[in-house]
Structure formats: structure tokens, C-alpha cells
Symmetry: T
Subunit: 69 residues, 12 copies
């Protein structure tokens, strides 16, 4: 544990459903190319409005993963 | 696009259901008097507790809309 | 009203379901020992990732309650 | 309660007397045109100096009020 | 001086030229409806990229003006 | 001195008189159960408005006290 | 006006009376050696507690003054 | 894991040796009364100066521990 | 739109001309290896001084681009 | 290099031309009395509005210089 | 100098020894794949506690390196 | 005590050894010209990297000292 080095990347996921789903989508997309993801941290929640309604959420997360030794 | 000027207003929506619903309610109320809303950004998430349970969420958002030329 | 003094404690709730449920769990646990809780304020939303998916959310809230006179 | 939507405006009051009086003046001026004000939050305290003395305080507050349904 | 109350509005100006021009455009647009503007404060500088080049700047400013007594 | 460990608690005092009095009330209430308080730090100044006037101030302070060895 | 350069210094004033008086004392002391002070901005409000009561306030301000050409 | 609720307390440790030792002392003191501490997070590093030298460091940490179910 | 995931990278551009040119240079360099850049956000403006004059500006921007599905 | 101690001063430059020119003016004025300036960092960009137009920019910078051994 | 573009990556190093060693480990690991690293900046210091003692430190740094032209 | 006015200066110390030593160097250099230093507060920890290793730490501290009456 105490020997690990982690790297963080910043991603923004979008969802027409809500905040939590936008996070899931960002993590799922990252999983295609990043192994050993460990945690995420929400940095910003924003979204788009269309016709007077919330069209979709955009959540920016920092995602941390273990760098292989 | 590059000629637009946007104005931002700050609103707080409430909901007994959750964070996303409180945002929807703030945007829906704003839509009664503001046209051309484009985006929102969450500034603060708080809420009220009653009888040891979350009674409702209160989400403060900044909402941006296009000023007409 | 204007005579009350409030105290705030900082708690982190976890949930495999989402942000709002993590808040509910933190408040519910606090209710076992704290009376007269009045409000909460979200300080940080983070979570754990396992096998390329969000495993659970961890939401840190400040919870305020009335100190008895 | 949980159905209300609030709007926030940002005001700066001035006073030769002190911080609290500058807040009172900002709220009193807002009361001429805004109904149903509920709360204020101090954002910045600054002031002007003249002849080596504090000439007046300038306090910026956010003031929240209920939007009528 | 010490009797004035100021109000602040938040605007975002856009410009294909640069940061300073985006501020000028936000202030010019505001001048159509707001009298007695006194100062501005830059809150955020961002912009759009198209075809690998900066397409335009978007500068968010808070603009303060004297409320008439 | 250099051996002490301090603990901090967060309190909100209320006062119909003003900012300083709200701090005094928070400290006075804390003194009923906490010994050896050493310092306070203001975190937030807000308040309630009623009938277009400031009804009372609410000041949140962090209060530090020496933990007994 | 537009040719001036200002310098800012950071000072902490103390007072057994309250926040506003601590600011006045910091400015008064600065006036002994600094000419042409123009403004102040509050950065931090803290204080000392003794015998379960506020003993004095300590207010940190930034003070700006015109540099002579 | 996902069922746990954590509580955070804020402590300040002091040390004539340095930053890391001040953290160790805060954690060691907390261990006398708190079980199941899991993590710490540094909030502020400051210290006292005497005779023109650093006399001791004061490090404020937030320490999180598992609340028992 | 609502299906996209964006990634953000942090870059610092330098320019002897000014702030806006430093941003352009950071974006132009990034365009050599990153496709589908959408926006930038300024995080910090600093620079080097030589012989009592500004030698060049250094502007740190976050640049967001669409991750391909 | 690793032996140097730097000092920072905070200055505000003004310009009717724009942000970059305001920085140049602050640095040029400082060069009259400070030797060995090394860097600057922008802290705040604000300005004055007159007759519905930007009258001048005011940019606050921190300027660092080497203290002579 | 003024032509360079820098990129920043965010890393977290761990160490059972202390803060400085955790930084060294993050930089050493990064050196395996990144050339021309120039500087680092500490963003967060936290750590794990086990059996009432600090088990290891985790320091998050931003590391900047020159992008090759 | 409650009559004192303090002034704060901002310094950056460098050290090839580590964070704590950089603070000591900044304070030691300041002691050559400033009397009655009382405290310091760390504002930023950064450093230089050379050949893939930490070359030296640079710690920015605010140092407070009593102004003589």
C-alpha cells in the first residue's frame, strides 16, 4: 500500500438522467483504457438547459488509478 | 456565437426527492420568466433535517441565459 | 430563534446507490446519538471504483443541530 | 417549504458606523423593491480610508428571497 | 459616498479578439439597460476551441452599479 | 506549549444585536461544557431577514481548546 | 486615476471591543508610517478566548495605498 | 465497506521537530479516546517563531474514524 | 451531446506578447497531438520579470476534448 | 539557486489600455525601488466603468524578488 | 524560454517515512516515463492511520514538464 | 496583548533537504532585518525537479511580527 504511486485524470461525463449517472458514464468510458482505477472525486456539477428544462447533467470528476511499478 | 452576452442568476430549488429534482424545480420556476436559458452550475447542496431524517434538499444553482441583442 | 446556538459535526456516509442515499445514511446514523438536527451541507462527493465501475459513493456532510440551553 | 424556489441578489451596503450597519442599509434598500426576503450571507467586508482613518465600511451580502409561485 | 447601496450582476461577454474585448462587450451590452455602472471584477476566463485554435474568449464579470435612492 | 494538542469544534451563535454579540453567545454557550478554550476563527456570517429588516445575525466560528494530556 | 500604482500591506489589529474597532486600530497604526491609504479589505476575523469569554478580536486586513510617482 | 459512516474531528498537533512529527502527535493524542481512526488530511501548517527561529510547528489535521453501527 | 465524455489536460503556454497569445500557444501546441478540443479555462496567469520589465507571460489553462466512443 | 530567499509584494497597476498593460505598469513602478524581481502572479483583475464603458483596468499582482544574502 | 509549452500531471506518492519522502517517490515514479520534468506543486497532504498511529503519508503533487516542440 | 498591531510579510525559502528546512531558512533570513517575529503560516509548497529527482523545495510562508507602538 505505502509503496504505490497514483495518477489522477480529469473527466466530464454527461447524462440526461442525473448526477450519479453522469459519474457512472465517465468512469465506464475511462475503464476502456485505464486499469486499476481506485477512486473518484467530484469537482463540478453543471448542465445544459433546453426549452426551459434540464437537458442533461455534466459532472467533472477526478479519477485516480494505481501506476504499475 | 462569439457575439452573445450571457447573464447569470442565482436560484435555490427545493425537493423532498433529491438533488437532481431540486435542480429541475429551480430551472422550471425560472422558465416562467426567463427565456433562452442555456446552462446551470451547482454552487451549493444543502438541506433540512426533521425527526432525524432528510426532509428536503436545497440546491443553489447559477443559471445562464442569452441576453437579447 | 435568535437565542439558539448550533453545533456542527462532519460525517461521511457511503452508499452503493448514489449521492442522495449516502447523505440519508449519514443523517440516519447521526440520529442515533444526536437530537435536534436541523440542516446539512454537502462538503465533498467522492467514491470508490472497483472493476472499472463505481462501487459506492462517499458523501461528506456537515450536520448542524441545536445545543440545548 | 420544500416547494419554494429562492432567488439571490448581491448587494453592497455602506456605512460610516460599522459592519453591521452596512448590512442593515443594504437590506433596507433592497426592501423597497423586493418582497419576502429570507436571509443574507456576507461575501466581503472592505472599506475606504481617508486621512489615515476608516471613512466607511462596505459590506457585500447575498440576499435570498422567495419567488412567488 | 457612504450612503450608497450597490447591486452586482454577473455577465459573460464573448469575443474572437481576446480577453479585454470580451469584457468591453459585456459592459457595453449591460449599458443598454443599466445606469450608473461603477466597476467590474473578472470571475472566470474561458473560451471555445475550434479546429485546434482558440475560436473565441468568454469572460465572466461581476458588474456593480449604484442603486438609486 | 509545543506539547499541546488542540481540538476544534464548529459552532453557530445567533444575536439580534450584531456580529460580535453572536460570537460572544457561541463562546459563552460552549463554555458550559468545554474547558480551556483558547481561540476562535470566524467561518461564515449570515442572518435572517424579517419584514424587510435584519432580524438576527448568525455567525459560525471554529473554537479551539487544549486537550488535556 | 488610471496612472496610479497601489501597494498592499497586510496588518492584524486587536481590540477588546469588537471587529470594527480592531480594523480601526490596524488602520490607525499604519497611518503613522504610510501616507495615502485608500482602502482596506478584511481577510480573516479571529480572536482569543480567556476564562470562557472572548478576550479580544484579531482582524487581519489588507490595506492599499497609492505609490508616489 | 459501503455501509460505514465516518466522523471527522479537527485537531492541531505541535512539535519542535517539524511538520510530520506534529501530525504524529495529534494522531497519538486522539488515539487515547478515539477507536478505528482511518485517515487524516492536513488543513493548515503554521508555527511559532521565537528569537528569530522556528520554535515549533502547529499542524491542523482532520482525522476520520468509523462510527460503530 | 449527452453521451459524450470529455477529458481535460492542464497546459502552460508562454508568450513575450501577452496573456491571450500565451493561451493561443498552449492550444496550438496541444493541437499537434489532441483532436476534438472543445474549450479552455484559465487557471493561473503568471510570468517572468527580467531587468525590471515583464519578460514573458505564462498562462495555465485546462483544455477539454471529446473522448472518442 | 537552492539558497535563495524570495520576498513577495502585492501591487495593483492601472491602465486604460488593458490587462497586460496594467501588469507592465505595476512592474515598471516597482522597478524604481526593487532590484532582482523574478516573477509575478495575477491575483485579481477588476476595473472602473464610466459612461457605460470600461474606463480602465486594475490588475493586482504579487511580485517576487530575491533577497540579498 | 518564452516559447515553451508545459504540461502538468497530477500524482499521489505514498511513504511510511513522511511528507518529503512521499513527494520524492511520486517524482521518481514519474521519471520512468516523463522526460524534462521541471517543477512540482503540493496540492494535498493526507495519510492513513492504523492502530492509532500514522501508517503512511499520501501527498498529491502536480508535476510540470516541457512538451517537446 | 490586545493593543498590538501585527504586520505580515510573504517569503519563500528554498532547501535541498526538505519542507521544514525551507521554512527555517526563510525565517532565518527574515530575522536579519525583522524583529519580534511571532508566527508563520505555510501558503504554498512547491519545488524544482532536475534529472528526474527533486532538486529543492520552495516553501512560501507568511510571517507575522509585532509593530512597535
Amino acid at each position: 500500500m505505502s509503496d504505490h504511486v497514483y495518477k489522477t485524470v480529469e473527466l466530464t461525463g454527461s447524462s440526461a438522467t442525473g448526477t450519479d449517472d453522469a459519474i457512472k458514464k465517465a468512469v465506464a468510458r475511462a475503464a476502456k483504457t485505464i486499469r486499476n482505477m481506485q477512486w473518484f472525486k467530484v469537482d463540478e456539477v453543471r448542465g445544459q438547459v433546453a426549452n426551459g428544462k434540464v437537458a442533461y447533467w455534466q459532472v467533472t470528476v477526478k479519477v485516480g488509478f494505481t501506476m504499475e511499478a
